[in-house]
Amino acid sequence: MSRRLPQWELTLVVFTLVAAAWSATLSPYYLSLDQILNSTRQFVYPGILAVGLAVVVVLGEIDISLASTLAFGAVLFSKFSAAAAPIWLAVPIVVAACAALGALNGVLVARLGLPSLAVTLGTMGAFRGLAFILGSETGYTSFDDSYLYVGSEELLGSLPISFVLFCGVALAVGVLMRRTVFGRRCYAVGLNKEASWAAGIDVAQLKIQAYALAGGLAGLAALVWIGQYGSARGDNADGAILLVVTAVVLGGVDINGGRGGILGVVLALFLLGTMRNGMGLANVAGPTQTIVLGALLIAGVLRPAIFRAVARVYRLMFPRLADAPN
């Protein structure tokens, strides 16, 4: 299993390079370092959400309320900015508040044993409602510059700070999942919940922690959002969850839990980003773009089946090779 995963990740890298080459032929504007770096900006906030979601999915659960948590975080940031609170105070409080919302999901799922799709479908509406009540209909736009820094500024001329933040988050969560007890336990629970419980893992607590992590990351994504779009309102990031789930599934994280890693999710985001960037620069019509990305997602879901089919064709074509041991 651990051998097959890098293979998919390698496939994603090849796909991305092919998509980049294709983009370069589609548009003369594509092949420029400034342009490519700047385009990463569009994928940072869904990317941070996807990294958090990946942890939850590894546990065999789902969280579709993350985009709503982001909206709540964005509105909360606007309250701190309006109160002229310093950003170093606002960030930990907002991240903690969003983590608390995530933990609430976790408690409902793990302690009460409710299905995670139903729970987070409910909180998706509830958290967004909370954001609408807390915020104003017209939205808040007069953020202090310090609040906008992460989402809007660049380092060395063209490297978006938000992209650096994303890389840091992905690296940290990647290490957490691969190199720590927490991560190993997540995979163990995802593969076999009962056996993990019998082995003495507190499954419920682990799930609550994972949901809290995903929620906290959504708070961080909110910081990127307000910088990039300069606006906080209840409907922020409405509909973004589709792209987030796409990235996680395409990244090779098994929707049933236990398999896949952060690297795959990051590579899937690069692939999606490269394709959207290339097609966007070539002004490809919207429906065509949706069809291409949808086909990509189906390919991601069908991946194991495709591999099996290819193997079968291979056996049919070279029966002697396959039957050699007989």
């Binding site: 569009q42 939205g139 779009y229 300069g230 509909g239 966007g280 019509a285 919207g286 429906p287 949706t290």
Partner: protein, 333 residues
Amino acid sequence: MQRRSALLSGAAAIFAFALAFSGAGAKDSGFKIMMTPKWTGFPYFEAAARGGKDAADELGDQFVYAGADHADVTLQVETLQNFLTQKPDAIVLAAIDLNAVAPVLKQARKQGIVVTTFDADAAADARDMFFNQMSYKQAAKTMLDCALMDAPEGEVAFVAASPTSPNHSAHIKYMKEYIQNDPKYQVFKVVDTQYANDEDAKSYDVAINLMQAHPNLKVIISSSAVSAPAGARAIDASGHAGKVFSTGFALPSAIKTYLEDGSEKCFALWNPYELGYLATYATHLKLAGKLDLKPGTTFKAGKAGEYTVGEGGEIVYGKPLMFTKDTVDKAGF
């Protein structure tokens, strides 16, 4: 030898200068204008795009139209970012969220790109000019004129998206004022205002409920292009055709059958083709240095006619269209 090359390079410099000067000073065509709607594929915005394309063709400009296939502000910002990379001379857009598109539009203006909004505005400091399809008062009057064609007098009810939707609330406020103060419209009596959130099924239910709650109801008026056709469907389905009418803003393609079978008499809108044409034409004029955005300036926009710049770079298009059985076919969108 040396002297001759100096002379040559001097001549070359003068020649280059003359070229550059004629290029910069007299540029009047060949601008690259990029347009993005709220979302593509919707007949309304496709008509606006055709108008923009025709204006650009007429003026010798390059015109590009692109965007996502559903209204999502992050996708619109991505489209605008991609536009910026392609270094256009101007961007024309219908903003999904007036604030969220502001940062990228401000960046565009910093790069010297002219930014024009139509249909739905962006934050005022993020664009050069905004083409407003119709003033609130004019929209209110147009819908009431349609209602008069439906019924000479009687009870009317309003359907809006929500109590906070800015344009719908303003339309209703002015319609109520006209019904109270203008003798022409005093024949009506307002009995109810309901909310349907721009949703088709909700609008249908709201219309049914209104007819049940008010047996003498004559006209349901909505400035939502979703609610008005849904109201017509509800009237038809519940057997109220000919007794109750639905009117307001609607796409001709959505209400054509009701007008043709006589169950409805009048709907209104404006011409999105001409709105797109006008926005693109005026953008060209601005690029060519022929349009001053000072309030009160008048300008001629080709076949779309003459317009006056209002406060804050806002220009009201203001030509309502009323669709009846006889005119709905000619709409072309």
